[in-house]
Symmetry: C2
Subunit: 152 residues, 2 copies
Amino acid sequence: MMQRQAPLYARLEAYIASKGLRSTTQRRCIADAFFSGPRHLTIEELLARVREQDPQIGYATVYRTLKLFAECGLAAERDFGDGRTRYELSDESNEHHHDHLICLVCGKIIEFHNEKIEALQIKVADKLGFRIERHNHEIYGSCASCVASEAR
Amino acid sequence: MMQRQAPLYARLEAYIASKGLRSTTQRRCIADAFFSGPRHLTIEELLARVREQDPQIGYATVYRTLKLFAECGLAAERDFGDGRTRYELSDESNEHHHDHLICLVCGKIIEFHNEKIEALQIKVADKLGFRIERHNHEIYGSCASCVASEAR
DNA sequence: GTAATTGCAAATGGTTTGCATGTAA
DNA sequence: TTACATGCAAACCATTTGCAATTAC
């Protein structure tokens, strides 16, 4: 376990304890894969990482465990329109909130954060008396390298 | 057919003719329901409207026809995270582009448009050399009336 | 006439669930 | 000891597809 992931483990263990759940080898293994892995992984990708450590882990366990992580606020579910749910560290587990640019050519996912957009969203909602809980903001198109290789 | 929907019919018929497809009673009936109905309808809702006119129409036909409308640029598919795809008139069939606020309590869908947000998105993408094709921007929370009834 | 379209039912595919077995506390 | 968790297979559910019958042109 890397140093910077220790707080995430601690939060997970605290949640598990507070709910009367159990700390299992599978959950710890999936937590390892999720906390240290690349962002925006699908269940399938996560399962592959997890099975490098323990080939016996079933895919239903990964589904259930990521739902658990989402429930306790460690993970966020993302839908980028390709039919598979992706998981990433939640905003609070992370440095800060971010949104995404998704390359339709190579599949690359780029994170962005723009304070002005965030502020304007709040303004739009306020004007309508709407109380914001969360938002999705995804920009689809072609990333710089795909635009470049297309031009060739 | 109402006056303001005539251009939409014309575009549909033009597309159908240009592709060597056929103008069927089912397609015209589904077009009626879609062009004149409320926005953001699911296939199931659309099917119900369509069957008021012609109870024989099958649901696969509605799926196929809405895909056709999307293909020819008349319809836009929307995913508000509840597992059902919704269809609305595309930006070009409509007055202008818009995004959505979705009430998680009552399900109300409110449209919004903010030029500053649009401009900032382009700025974010430009800085990364990313070419935008489209975007999703959804704000989830509680609408004014649900916030009010909660306060009671 | 013939190629596109329809309606039905079956297939698909990601995700969820029931259940018998295993295991943490 | 006794709930909770796991792994498997089956179920789910929105959507898609194969196919025989129908229809537009």
